[in-house]
């Protein structure tokens, strides 16, 4: 299923040249903020939860997920060079699977590791907060990568749609309509964080079994459907 050549090409497309800059910028900013907050405020569990939950998990992980997920396949479909890959004797589903693995690896590397470091800077892993949010970032990376990879195969405006989901749905509707929170990757990931973190520090609106089920279901379904989409891919003309 895993094809090293496809993986190498995808890594290059994602991290080549200037593209990696935006990926490095976000984690760097998170760590700078964490350091500034620690210097300004001292170690405080509630502040650590605010920064990690509000900035790391709510903003940084989805953004990196969008960039890595859609970026691993979108540009290739966009400029038509995907046909050279599709014409090779490699199964479409294994192309998707490989690209998914790469997207997950990139998202995890650029979101979970900085989250962990920021958590340690903020309160030295008191109440297991750093570990909890790192685990949340790890599982959210899987779901986001799968979802946005699917979007990349479905639409040419994958980045915009992905951002609308990540920002408008999860942040705006999530804060206004309680029901919208059940359908949010962020809340599913938080359910896991809630289990790991100290009593009453982190809260999620979704129960743990439901969250795990939804996370696994969405990831698997999205990957399967992306493979189906790639089998019948039509190269659209330029607008």
């Amino acid at each position: 299923m895993y094809n090293p050549t496809v993986a190498r090409l995808t890594y290059r497309a994602l991290l080549g040249r200037r593209r990696a800059a935006i990926l490095f910028l976000l984690p760097a900013l998170l760590i700078v903020i964490a350091a500034a907050v620690r210097a300004l405020n001292g170690a405080d569990d509630q502040v650590a939860v605010d920064v990690l939950g509000g900035f790391a998990l709510a903003t940084m992980v989805p953004l990196i997920g969008v960039i890595a997920g859609t970026g691993s396949i979108g540009p290739e479909i966009d400029d038509g060079s995907i046909v050279y890959l599709l014409s090779k004797p490699v199964q479409r589903s294994s192309i998707i699977f490989t690209k998914l693995i790469v997207a997950i690896a990139v998202t995890m590397a650029f979101s979970a590791i900085p989250t962990f470091i920021a958590g340690y800077i903020l309160n030295g892993n008191g109440q297991q907060i750093a570990v909890a949010y790192t685990v949340a970032a790890l599982v959210a990376s899987i779901a986001y990568s799968a979802l946005f990879l699917l979007l990349g195969t479905v639409s040419r405006h994958a980045v915009v749609i992905g951002l609308v989901y990540a920002l408008v749905w999860e942040t705006l509707f999530g804060s206004l309509v309680a029901g919208a929170r059940t359908l949010s990757v962020q809340q599913w990931a938080l359910a896991l964080a809630q289990r790991i973190g100290g009593e009453g520090t982190i809260t999620s609106d979704v129960g743990l079994p439901l969250a795990v089920g939804l996370l696994a279901g969405v990831s698997v379904l999205a990957t399967w459907y992306a493979g189906q989409k790639l089998r019948t891919l039509k190269l659209a003309g330029e607008e």
């Binding site: 935006i22 405020n41 605010d50 940084m60 405006h157 980045v159 915009v160 609308v164 607008e239």
Partner: protein, 315 residues
């Protein structure tokens, strides 16, 4: 090759088919196929600049492009105007004496929509020219670098001004229909327009600078939205923490680091707005000058970066 020789023989204009033409020199003719010099009026640089401006402005709303590219800008425009219409309807139905939302506050509330619009349209305006290598074609016309940059910048800022100004017009028209105080509403409307004009210039410049750095639309979109939301997310998180830890003095200085809070600060200091900062701890007129200077520096800075960027047409 055989067809070429034949053409050369019959038309007699084929310079490449030397031997055949030489053999039948007597039958060789040169036809006048009617090439003429252009003798009409030349519309010149100003016209080209104006055309580029109007094309870019129309393109920012998908006009003159395919139906598919009209969908997103039009939806965002509708989403932008809808709350204003609802507010007006409620205000008229319940006989309010003032609008429940300040004119200056509207753009701050709808900043996500403005950000998405900018992220979707700024790369559309410049990245595609880079990717399809049409920039050299523009410069083969009688326009110069400064014309291209001014036209694109002007069009993006105008498109944003239309997007942010339209709901204010709806609010203003509604407030007059509801017979609210005319002088009061006109003053608020004017302040709102100045504020969104400044916002359009600032956002348009930042969006174009980021989009002009990449020929890929997707990366441009991500870069613009990341800059806007990340800076706003970081600043508002830090402001909330500074406020809750009683460092209220720091709140107004932190606002300098994100576009939305910059506009918020300027309008709080000079345009009679209520700040959206935690504890409404917006800048006073003194600090407001710093805000205004930063905004102007960013606007001029984006113009300078764009000018520098287009010294070279490629990347």
């Amino acid at each position: 090759m055989s067809t070429e020789t034949e053409n050369g023989r019959t038309a007699g204009a084929g310079a490449g088919s030397g031997s055949a033409a030489g053999a039948e020199a007597g039958t060789t003719r040169i036809h006048n196929i009617g090439y003429r010099n252009y003798e009409g009026s030349r519309l010149g640089r100003a016209y080209a600049r104006r055309s580029l401006y109007s094309q870019s402005l129309r393109g920012a709303y998908g006009l003159g492009r395919s139906a598919k590219s009209k969908v997103l800008p039009m939806i965002l425009f509708a989403v932008m105007c809808l709350p204003a219409a609802i507010i007006v309807a409620v205000a008229i139905a319940t006989n309010l004496k003032t609008l429940p939302l300040d004119y200056t506050r509207y753009a701050i509330f709808t900043q996500a929509v403005i950000g998405l619009y900018l992220a979707s349209q700024a790369p559309q305006s410049v990245s595609r020219d880079l990717r399809f290598k049409t920039v050299p074609l523009y410069f083969s016309r009688p326009i110069e670098r400064v014309d291209y940059v001014l036209a694109k910048y002007g069009a993006m800022a105008s498109a944003l001004f239309v997007l942010t100004g339209a709901p204010l017009v709806i609010l203003y028209a509604g407030s007059l229909l509801a017979k609210m105080d005319f002088a009061d509403q006109t003053k608020g409307f004017g302040q709102g327009l100045v504020s969104v004009a400044l916002l359009s210039l600032l956002f348009g410049g930042l969006g174009l600078v980021l989009a002009a750095l990449t020929p890929r639309r997707g990366f441009g979109v991500a870069a613009v939205i990341a800059t806007l939301t990340i800076s706003y997310g970081a600043v508002s998180t830090l402001q909330a923490i500074a406020w809750s830890s009683d460092a209220i003095g720091a709140v107004k200085w932190l606002g300098l680091f994100s576009p939305v809070t910059l506009i918020d600060g300027v309008q709080t200091a000079f345009l009679g707005a209520t700040s959206a900062f935690p504890g409404e701890a917006g800048p006073s007129a003194g600090v407001g000058v710093v805000y205004l200077l930063v905004v102007l520096a960013l606007v001029l800075g984006s113009y300078a970066v764009l000018m520098r960027r287009y010294r070279k047409v490629g990347l």
